[in-house]
Amino acid sequence: MARLTILEHREIADNMRWLLFEAPKDLQYQPGQFLHIRVTDGVDHLLRRPISLCKVDGGRKALGVAYRVGGKGTKLLAGKNVGDTLDVLGPLGKGFKLHEGDRHAILVGGGIGVPPMVELADQLHRNGVKVTAIVGFQSKSVAILIDDLKQYGDVLVSTNDGSLGRQGFVTDYMTDELLASADRFYACGPTPMLRAVQAKMEGRVAGYLSLEERMGCGIGACMACVTSCRLADGSIGYKKVCKDGPVFPAPEVYFA
C-alpha cells in the first residue's frame, strides 16, 4: 500500500484514459496483475477499483494503467491531475505465466481487457517469443493501445461495427493455421469473449484467461470475488479472482 504520484494522465480514446504512476519502491510485478486504487480519500466511494497493470517502464520507474471512465468512481479518478497522489494497493493477484520454450503466443484482448496485454507482449517479446495480438473493440472511437502492441508483434484488430479492422469478433481471426502455429494463448476481456476463446482453444492451444469480478478487499479476505472453477478433484468450486487470479489456466475456468 502506498500513495503513488501521478506522472501522466490523459485521454487516449473516447472515455478511455491513460494514467502513469511513479512506481513504488522495490516494485515486484507480473503482467496481468492489478492495482487496487482508491478514487477518493472521503467515504463516499469506499471500495477500491481494480485496474490491470498495463505497462511498467523500468527506465522511468513508472507504472501505467489504461481505464474506461464509466461509473462514479472512475469519473472521480478521471478528475485527478498530474502531481496528485492516489492510495494504491498492489500489484495484487496472480498474473500471466510465461513458459520457457514457447516460441509463439497469441494474445487476445477485448475492450478494457486489452491493457494487460501490453506488458505481457513486451515481456514475451523480450524473451524471444513471437507475439500475435488479436484485439477487439466496440468501435474505432474506443480502440486503445494498438500502436503500443505493434512494437512487439503483429496486431489483428476487429470491431463490432467494422469502423476499424475487420468487422466481427476476435475469434474470427483464430484460423486453424494460426492455432497450429501457437504454443500458448493469453486472453482478457468480457465474459462472452472469454467463453468463445476458451471453446476455440480447448484441446488445441494451452493458455490462460484473466477474469473480472466485483471486489471488496482485493487481497483474498472477504470472499466477494469468487468465480466457479474446476478444482483439482474435478468438482466445481469457487476460487477468488483477486488472490487465486485474476489469471487462471483456461481449463480451470468454468462458465456456467
Binding site: V43, D44, H45, L46, L47, I219, G220, A221, C222, G237
Partner: protein, 303 residues
Amino acid sequence: MIDLSVNIGSLKLKNPVMPASGCFSFGKEYADFYDLSQLGAIVVKATTLEPRLGNPTPRVAETPGGMLNAIGLQNPGVEKVIAEELPHLRKYDIPVIVNVAGTTVEDYVAVTERLMDSEDVDAIEVNISCPNVKCGGIQFGTDPAQAAHVTESIKKVSKVPVIVKLSPNVTDIVSMAKAVEAAGADAISMINTLVGMSIDLNRKKPLIANGVGGLSGPAVKPVAVRMTYQVAQAIQIPIIGMGGIMDGEDAIEFLMAGAAAVAVGTANFVNPLACPEIIDGIRQYCEQNGVASVSDLTGVAWK
C-alpha cells in the same frame, strides 16, 4: 503508560480492537500487512457444520458511505476450519473468537461442540443475525425467545465465553439484548449489517445476485452507536461495538456509547492497516485527553 486492556467476560484483551467476522477471513491475508499480535483479538469468518458455497456473484456493491455484501456464509465447514485454519493463529498471542452460524439450533450446538475439541478456540461468537442466508439465521436474530433459546443451548455445551451477535433489523434491540443476557450470554456484539438493496439501472435488477445484501461501513455508524447506547444501559454484560468504525475517533464514540471493545469490518477493505491504526488512534486520544485506562471510557456518554 495508558492501559489499553479490556475484559470481555473472562477473556483478557490487550487492547479493545478486533477485526469483525467475515471481514478478515482467517487472518492470513492481513498477516502480510502487519503482525496480528498487535490486535486485541481475532474474530474469524462464520463457520457452519458443513462446507458452504455461499451466494452467486456479484456479492458486493458500493453504496454512499458504505457497501452491501451477500457472501452468504461461504466457509469450508467446521472440520476444515479446525484442521486447517485455526492452528496457524496460535502463533499470535491473542484470543481467537470463532463466529458460528447455522440454520437450526442443532446446527449451532453441533458446531460449538465440535469446536470444543479444539485447543484453538477462546470464545464463540454466535451469529444469529446474518441477513444473507435465506432460511435460518434471521429468525433467531429478530425474535427474543428464539435468540434466548439458541443462546441457552450453546451455553450448555460451550466451555469458553459465548458472545451473541445482534441484528439491527429489529424494532426493539434492547429486548433482544436482555433476552440473550438472561439466557446466559457472556457478552454481546453488535451490530451486524442492516438489510439493504441497490438496483442496477442498466440491468433493471438488484445489483447483488442475492437481491438483498447487508449494509456496512460509515453509513450505518449512527444506527450502531444509537443501539449500543441503548443496549449498554439495559444490560450488565460487556458489548463489542461495531458498524462503520474507520478511525480511532469512531472507536472512541462506541466506547463512550457503552461498548467495552470494538470490531472493525469494512474499514479493512479500504485500508488493510485499519486495525493497527485504530489502536494507535485510541492510544493517542487517551494520551491527549488524560485517560489512564481505556476501560474508563465505556459508557461515559450516559454514566
